[in-house]
């Protein structure tokens, strides 16, 4: 049975149109110990700060829109269990539109730039294409990336170096493994800063979809060192 608890949430508030500097506002919330972080944010919005900007859609960890930092760790707000003391901030390093909402236009531009659809040698003939079941399963799993940017926000290489982030490399690896794709995905991954990755696996630990962008990076790097083709993994 859930227990009633008192929660204290410190939220980073910032409206670039009005505020010169971001500020932290503290809210006391009467909640239950099985609440998610999103429940706390919604409660604050409904009862204490009607002007709080935040984002969510599915509430079941599938849409990837509610990513925030809780006590410095990027999480999906709808999945992360609430804590008695929380500091809630927008995902870094993205520009803040307002409060907990970040501007994803650069993210969308990067996805578009990488042309993440199979680049075919011949025109698509229509209809399903034969594909090995094991590879199909791997591709389906890789395709379950939510694009929530939790891995990008947690990646130390993104913070310190010219690296687009693990999520983009994962999508490039997905395309590289696709049997119909003839694109130069390895070169794209290198251009996206893949070689800057520290190999720390933080992205794997943080990924809400249980994916391993770090493994995708390792597979690309093995290709650089030992050669080989993605579709033969």
């Amino acid at each position: 049975m859930p227990t009633d608890i008192k929660l204290r949430a410190e939220i980073r508030r910032y409206d670039p149109a009005v505020d010169a500097q971001p500020r932290y506002e503290t809210y006391e919330v009467a909640g239950q110990d099985n609440w998610r972080v999103l429940d706390v944010i919604r409660s604050i919005y409904e009862h204490q700060a009607g002007d709080l900007a935040y984002q969510f859609a599915c509430r079941v960890g599938r849409c990837g829109t509610c990513g925030v930092k809780v006590n410095g760790v990027p999480v999906l707000a709808c999945q992360e269990r609430c804590k008695p003391e929380m500091r809630i901030e927008p995902l870094t390093p993205f520009p803040v539109l307002r409060d907990l909402v970040v501007d994803r236009s650069e993210v969308e531009a990067r996805y578009e730039q990488h042309a993440l659809a199979p680049q075919r040698a011949t025109a698509y003939a229509g209809g399903p294409e034969a594909i090995e079941p094991q590879l199909a399963e791997a591709l389906c799993h890789m395709n379950s990336c939510l694009a929530c940017m939790v891995c990008v926000s947690g990646c130390p290489a993104v913070a310190e170096r010219a690296f687009d982030g693990p999520a983009f490399i994962l999508k490039l690896r997905h395309m590289a493994k696709h049997p119909a794709d003839t694109g130069t995905r390895l070169a794209q991954a290198v251009d996206a800063g893949m070689l800057e990755c520290f190999g720390c696996d933080l992205c794997t630990q943080l990924c809400p979809a249980d994916l391993s962008p770090a493994q995708a990076i390792r597979e690309f790097r093995r290709e650089i060192i030992l050669g080989g083709s993605a579709t033969h993994d």
């Binding site: 099985n34 998610r36 079941v60 960890g61 599938r62 809780v70 006590n71 410095g72 760790v73 999480v75 999906l76 999945q79 992360e80 269990r81 804590k83 929380m86 399963e137 791997a138 389906c140 799993h141 890789m142 379950s144 947690g154 130390p156 520290f198 190999g199 720390c200 696996d201 933080l202 794997t204 630990q205 943080l206 809400p208 979809a209 249980d210 994916l211 391993s212 770090a214 493994q215 390792r218 597979e219 790097r221 093995r222 060192i225 030992l226």
Partner: protein, 126 residues
């Protein structure tokens, strides 16, 4: 890799240890410790063995005592072992071998701690 099962259990990521972050920081710190040790070791050897530095040797009698502290050796051996094994793990990753981040972290810390412990026991005569 396994398929995602819905609904997922709630996560407690903000409370968990971030293994990759800790491992990376330890790798950096252990590297610095090794570099500092090598530099200090060269200077100390010079002070001890080069007649020109005899006055410096006389002025720093604590150098000998410091050199014989078991915790200094334990930290040094832990750092050397951790830096080596974590570096090898990263190199293996470049060749396509992957280890679960949590298992790898505790295995490397555990083995490195054994090297440090060995120094403590050696000084204790065990």
């Amino acid at each position: 890799m396994t398929n995602v099962a819905l609904p997922r259990n709630t996560t407690r990521q903000a409370e968990a240890m971030l293994y990759g972050g800790v491992a990376r920081r330890l790798h950096q710190v252990s590297g610095v410790v090794i570099i500092v040790f090598v530099l200090v070791h060269v200077i100390v050897q010079a002070v001890w063995h080069v007649p020109m530095f005899a006055s410096a040797k006389a002025a720093a009698p604590w150098l000998q005592a410091l050199q014989e502290q078991n915790w200094v050796h334990a930290i040094l051996f832990f750092c050397i072992a951790f830096h080596t094994f974590y570096g090898l793990k990263l190199f293996a990753g470049e060749l396509g071998y992957s280890f679960h981040y949590k298992t790898a972290f505790w295995a490397i810390v555990g083995v490195s701690a054994l090297f440090g412990l060995r120094e403590v026991l050696r000084y204790a005569g065990i």
